[in-house]
């Protein structure tokens, strides 16, 4: 077995942030150390209030080649972007 520490991806929710954002990665022997190191490296200047770490091998990503099939169709489905309805003026702001 190779004695390299596994890679962890780090997600942080900022002071006023609504959700966790990916900020980087680091090596650590276990989750506890990963959180401690993430605290030191990524939140030393008040960057966050909550940390998630996840071992990189647990993340599955979409392939760049799938960009078309995955994301393109929504452009042609205008009913998913319904910005064109006429609201009678009498009704006021909606």
């Amino acid at each position: 077995m190779k004695n390299e520490w596994p890679l962890w991806e780090v997600f942080i929710r900022g002071q006023h942030g609504l959700n966790h954002r990916h900020v980087g990665s680091l090596h650590a022997p276990d989750a506890e150390m990963a959180i401690k190191n993430a605290r030191d490296v990524y939140t030393r200047r008040n960057e966050g209030v909550s940390i998630w770490v996840v071992e990189a091998r647990h993340i599955a990503a979409s392939a760049p080649g799938d960009k078309g099939p995955l994301f393109d169709p929504s452009e042609s489905k205008i009913y998913r972007h319904p910005t064109f309805y006429d609201i009678p003026e009498e009704v006021g702001h909606m």
């Binding site: 390299e4 520490w5 890679l7 760049p64």
Partner: protein, 330 residues
């Protein structure tokens, strides 16, 4: 610059006709300033050049802790000591960001560190110069981090996404360092005659090594053409060096210190300062491993790695034991 003399594997830039369809698509992205991301296709030489450059950059952050760390226990006031500690801690973090970014190209951090220890990868020439007195710590922050910022601000626009993002994060912290360093030198320059002399001495010794950080002059740097075409490099060595000189000379004048080079003179026609070239044979000698501290720096890094083996292995064994216990309990 923290990465120097990075050679792209092939010399000469391919014309569009010589490129394969994949290469043309890649070049189009680069030309349109679309960032290249880890899962995108990229030419092997692009990948290899970036692994070398980012790896070397990361190594520089780590080795760069040694010259400054040299003065932690001897910093003259508690305030300066705390600042220096915070700074060295930042450098460790910068190394970490850069190794993480380099790892997205498929080389692990341990492999990169191993290559450094075997002498197969380099780190910035600047960290092979000794820190002989307290003023050197101020000068390193001011000049060395100042030079690094000039280079890294340009690299924020580099074509590889993870590298560009690491640079944005790092530049924020580097600019603290440069200001801290300048403040430390300013206090000396405005202090007693002895302190002023120390500041002058540090400036004189570190000026040319700082200029060397940008790498050889454009006419010598035959490998940068491909790096420019791939937008790994966004500005040439000489452009960046000139920018650094232009911004630093007014800072020297403000301190009331003598210019470290008699040929520094404002050139009205060019709109830039003229200055002497560093001693390039010395530069190449330092890069080859013959600078004042090369041997010492590497000995310390290798010793830290080897002496720390049992700690790393112990932590990993503990983590595996805990994981196994958890599975058994479930």
């Amino acid at each position: 610059m923290y990465a120097q003399m990075i050679k792209t594997a092939r010399s000469g830039v391919k014309s569009r006709e010589e490129m394969s369809e994949q290469e043309r698509e890649f070049q189009d992205k680069v030309d349109n300033n679309i960032k290249i991301e880890p899962q995108d296709w990229m030419p092997d030489d692009y990948r290899a050049t970036l692994i070398r450059q980012m790896g070397q950059h990361a190594h520089s952050e780590v080795v760069g802790q040694l010259p400054e760390g040299n003065w932690i226990t001897r910093a003259p006031t508690l305030e300066r000591k705390a600042i220096l500690l915070a700074k060295v801690q930042d450098e460790a973090g910068h190394g970490l960001y850069l190794y993480s970014a380099a790892e997205t190209l498929g080389e692990t951090r341990d492999e990169l560190v191993n290559l450094l220890h075997e002498g197969k990868m380099k780190y910035s020439s600047i960290f092979n110069y000794p820190t002989l007195n307290w003023a050197d710590i101020g000068a390193v922050g001011w000049l060395v981090d100042g030079a690094a910022i000039v280079n890294q601000v340009a690299l924020q626009r580099t074509s590889y996404g993870p590298y560009s993002r690491a640079m944005i994060r790092i530049c924020k912290e580097e600019s603290f360092h440069a200001r801290q360093g300048y403040d430390a030198i300013r206090v000396l320059a405005q202090g007693s005659p002895e302190q002023k002399k120390m500041a002058q001495d540090a400036l004189n010794r570190l000026w040319f090594p700082a200029l060397m950080m940008f790498g050889p002059s454009d006419s010598e740097s035959v490998h940068s053409e491909q790096s420019m075409a791939w937008k790994i490099k966004v500005k040439s060595n000489d452009e960046l060096r000139q920018q650094f000189v232009d911004q630093t000379i007014p800072q020297i004048e403000y301190l009331g210190l003598d210019l470290p080079d008699p040929n520094i003179k404002w050139n009205e026609e060019r709109g830039h300062y003229d200055f002497s070239e560093p001693n390039w044979p010395e530069f190449f000698d330092v890069i080859k491993g013959n600078g004042p501290c090369n041997v010492d720096r590497m000995e310390k890094r290798v010793a830290a790695w080897e002496d720390g083996t049992w700690v790393r292995d112990g932590l990993l064994a503990h983590a595996r034991k805990k994981a196994a216990q958890k599975i058994a309990a479930e």
